[in-house]
């Protein structure tokens, strides 16, 4: 059996949009890794390429240069259909604006990845209810997203990202729309449920309040990774002298 050392491995990954004078270099040669069992943060100012990078990592965009391995697979070798299947089986997504389907109940929203995989509706919703209970939303499984607070909606979105037990969870600003307490609760649930051996989490965020959860923080600027900080080589990033201020600047 093949042993995969890293969940994500980017080497000199490039991505541009448009051609000629309209050409925009979104990624200018990114080196980035995310390990299993870790929570990897991507931080940086708006427009620095964070969203493009996680879109490429998640197989939603095709890179235009460099080398990319996700869960040991070279995504560019996959056809469009195989990429869809790869995402369905291996990836979970948490979006800034939750992107829950407003007409579905919380449990039904969580069940969507299972339904997409062909599971029967009753079984899928049953499993979703169980997971929501574990995430503290057992009494809200029948509620529509409109009847849930922002924190609750993000917990539902988190459950949707985890229900099919993906090996890589990609989060885009998961706490940006939440107050401190709700954001902290979501991050704790994410750490408790998603950060496990054989599973990795990559988070794009501006929210410096949650940096202390990171195992590594990669700071991006102008389409490149300019600094990587690991928690295991020193104190947690926010406790490291000077780190807090520099990250605060980044978040601005």
């Amino acid at each position: 059996m093949q042993t995969i050392e890293r969940a994500v491995s980017c080497r000199d990954v490039k991505k541009h949009f448009g051609e000629g004078e309209a050409r925009i270099e979104a990624l200018r040669g990114v080196d980035f890794t995310a390990d299993f069992g870790e929570l990897s943060f991507l931080v940086g100012p708006s427009g620095c390429g964070k969203t493009t990078l996680i879109s490429v990592i998640a197989g939603l965009l095709r890179r235009t240069g460099g080398d990319l391995l996700v869960l040991g697979r070279r995504l560019d070798d996959l056809s469009d259909g195989e990429r869809v299947l790869f995402r369905r089986r291996n990836l979970g997504f948490v979006f800034q604006q939750y992107n829950l389907l407003p007409a579905l109940t919380a449990a039904e929203n969580v069940a969507v990845p299972l339904l997409a995989a062909g599971l029967a509706r009753r079984d899928a919703v049953e499993r979703s209810r169980a997971l929501l209970s574990r995430l503290g939303l057992g009494s809200r499984t029948a509620a529509l997203p409109g009847g849930l607070s922002g924190g609750q909606q993000q917990r539902v979105a988190l459950a949707r990202a985890l229900i099919h037990e993906p090996r890589l969870v990609v989060c885009d600003e998961p706490t940006a729309a939440l107050d401190h307490a709700s954001g902290d609760a979501v991050m704790r649930l994410l750490v408790d449920n998603a950060v496990q051996p054989g599973r990795a989490v990559v988070i794009v965020t501006h929210d410096s309040r949650v940096f202390h959860y990171a195992d590594s923080i990669a700071r991006m600027d102008d389409g490149r990774i300019v600094e990587v900080t690991h928690a295991d080589v020193g104190p947690p990033p926010l406790d490291r002298p000077g780190a807090h201020e520099s990250l605060k600047e980044v978040s601005l």
Partner: protein, 379 residues
Amino acid sequence: MNFVALRMLTGDRAKYFGLVFAIAFCTFLLENQTSIFANILNRTASQILDVTDAEVWVMDPQTEYWEQTKALKDTDLNRVRGVPGVQWAVRLFKGNPVARTREGKFAACFLVGLDDATLAGAPRRMLMGSWDRLWEPDSVVVDKAGYILLFPDEPLQLGRTLEMNDHKVTIVGISDASAPFVSLPVMHARYSEAIDFLGRERTQLSFVIARPEAGVSPEELTRRIAAQTSLRARTTQEFKWDGIEYYLKNTGIPVNFGITISVALVVGTVVAGQTFYLFTVENLKQFGALKAIGVANSRLVGMILLQAASVAALGFSIGTGMAATFFEITLRNLATRGIVLMWQCVALTGGCILFVTLVASLLSIRRVLVLEPAEVFRG
């Protein structure tokens, strides 16, 4: 994922009902207008179709439709009878005398003169009295609508008298003749009396109606009669369509209805199609999230088609129900009697709705297929 598609569709009640009723009203308008149009044109052939005994009509070569007659020679009847394949042939008179009641109310009428010996050519259904009583002197059968026109607010009653061309005639029956194109009373009398009720002219024979012998088709008989007599011979259906074509070519009816139907088609279908398209566009974020999660394009296409099919089916059913209710109500009205929801119009409208829904679906599908799932990360 089918239930997800349907819940997405019905989740926003205001949009959902807007979409369903846009299709329902489009359906109603199209079915209503096309049915009225077709029924009105059918009325031009009411008196032809009421003659169920005969299958062949013989007339002057220049006659184009029922209303336009030039009298044949009395000898033409025998010439037609002499054509091989004719089982029987009888005279039929059509005229437009004025009938006046004792109270002074009067109306121009359609008067049909039936063969004295056989009364061939009479409509089958009688509401009061019997066709046999036409053999009584100076008698007529009037249709119910005509009776009510001449004797408003009075109960149907046999034995009432009318004055027609200085003749006192007695109503001996009330028929259920089909409504004519123009709302005039329809009367039937014996041929020999009918020509007196109108006023004698040198020749009075409007039509000869005939029936082919067994083994001879009406079409074949019309060819034989035309060849042998140089008269115009048409089957009942051909004569019906002659009239319809005449009205289509020579009146403003098709233009008027055409405009209404076109407006209904354009406004109704554009509104319905655009509403559905906008519904998809407004849900692009949701479709994008589903794409990112790993829902295949083929599944998304299936979801959109299911949404379109269900909303079209529901809207079409409601619209057809509304149209059926409309015609059910107006069917009891004398002026609109006989105007029904035609299945051909329902089928035609269904085709239009299907086409529009399909076009709107394809546009929606295109938007979803070209949607980059990465869009969901962009706020």
